[in-house]
Symmetry: C2
Subunit: 304 residues, 2 copies
């Protein structure tokens, strides 16, 4: 069975909390290792509400330094300190995030009893962050009102899928099945049975692309091409295309165009403008155009 690779959305509104929705925050879970993406105000409250194991979060990625993507950091980080966190926490963000965080902690005399490793990125460049042997995060430039980057979380060592027939034919043990999943062969009567006879060809690893906030931008396509799942901001419905352009956001129709052009089958939309009290309108307007459309909803879990 494939390893867990899923996204839980904790905040899906733009600008400020309203209509019971919160500013941007998501948790990517790969095999019980958690990555937080963006950290709007009250992220730590949402983490508790949806029973996210905060001790499993070792990496936080911040797309840009607008408040609705980072004002939850001071509370989350200082609570980690008060709760006795010991392990290193890696905070990845645009140039300026170090000054933002350290300025707050200096002013409020917060003491962190763990190492906070702040890594700053030039958002104009593409970067690759190797989280561990099975997960890599690529950052890529996005166009917004301030320096902003998108993220692609990539499964780098996908497992082979075992052929059920092979298990029967060779009476494979549990250990042999585990071995075959990572590419091993087996021995029968002194003869090696190649892995290719036991498994299906290895597919590309699954991947999740996160694009928020951004103006409609086909330049993103090379970075997100063929992702298994895409989160793309849709601050507005299509009738506000000029407003979206002016404020460097995206409409629903534009996000669907991006998903189609990137050959992505599953699209989560979100970062809704506060003007939409009821977000079902996004589904009604978008689903006829793209059957893989899913509403971004807080507390909902999406498989990558």
């Amino acid at each position: 069975m494939a390893k867990t690779f899923e996204v839980t959305i904790l905040g899906v509104n733009s600008a400020y909390p309203i209509h019971g929705r919160h500013p941007s925050c998501q948790i990517v879970n790969y095999d019980n290792r958690l990555i937080m993406i963006d950290c709007g105000e009250a992220a730590q409250i949402q983490v508790s509400k949806y029973s996210i194991k905060r001790s499993k979060i070792n990496h936080i990625f911040i797309s840009h330094l607008h408040g609705d993507h980072c004002y939850g950091l001071p509370g989350l980080l200082s609570s980690y300190g008060l709760q006795g966190r010991k392990s290193t926490l890696n905070l990845h963000g645009p140039i300026g995030i170090k000054k933002f965080v350290e300025g707050i902690f200096e002013a409020t005399e917060a003491y962190l009893p763990f190492e906070l490793n702040i890594l700053e990125y030039d958002t104009e460049e593409q970067s690759t962050v190797v989280i561990d042997s099975s997960i890599t995060v690529e950052t890529f430039p996005m166009k917004h009102r301030i320096p902003t980057m998108g993220f692609k979380i990539i499964e780098t060592i996908p497992e082979f899928n075992i052929k059920v027939d092979a298990i029967k034919e060779f009476e494979m043990s549990i250990e042999e099945i585990k071995g075959a999943k990572i590419g091993n062969s087996i021995i029968r009567d002194g003869v090696e049975i190649a892995n290719s006879k036991l498994t299906f060809p290895k597919k590309d690893g699954r991947s999740y692309a996160y694009c928020s906030d951004t103006v409609y931008d086909p330049d993103l396509l090379p970075y997100i091409m063929n992702s298994s799942l895409l989160y793309h901001e849709t601050t507005y419905l299509d009738d506000h295309e000029s407003l979206a352009k002016e404020r460097m956001h995206t409409t629903l129709g534009q996000a669907i165009e991006i998903a189609k052009a990137a050959k992505i089958e599953k699209l989560i939309v979100g970062h809704y403008s506060s003007r939409y009290q009821d977000i079902d309108v996004f589904l009604e307007e978008g689903l006829p155009k793209f059957s893989g459309l899913m509403l971004g909803e807080e507390g909902r879990v999406y498989e990558v």
Copy 2:
């Protein structure tokens, strides 16, 4: 009828949000003019949840710069900006609050389309802030781990209470009643009827004292003496007296002692330690000692 003077508690936990409780934040409502005291994370969410009219808040007082008393400021202030606030907002706090707020806004490129008037106080001194002709806030020194001040909100022009008999006897008009409430006399058959014949003697104005965070400290008494209502932190129950002293907090029994010594009849307790999932234990332990004890509870309104 006396003017509205009440307190709504929006956050009552210490350190960080847990058990459905939020960090410190309160709203004092005097005759529909609102003052916020402390602004922990998610204060703006609590403001919405409990239908506080945020446009009526023109003054925010911050007791000290620990995160659980000020991490809600960036979100609240930037949301005011996004929502188009035009009127001046006065932010009162300890020395350092200007650097805290301005540092965040610089790092996150937040633009405020209204005047934010930041006033810094030496927490070692007593200060008097005249809000308007009917409300004054006194700040006073408290002893905590960092510079901290308490607040006393005082009704400076209480209205006279009209004698019902006088309304009948003199057939007073609505205008005359209004005038008598603020000290005017009336004329009958060319003769002046003194205000003292129309009203009861003017009592002292009502007052609300806020003491959080503080170690048990009888030096506070002169500042809060005879207040109508006291909020005093009780981070711990009595069995944690040594811990309270070490962390410069107060126990329930100590807060009751302070209330009694200050001749205050109504005491709200709060700033509960995260160790108390159920806060009813504070009522059970404290009520036998002090009948005017009230639990601080989020969303509850307390008359001053």
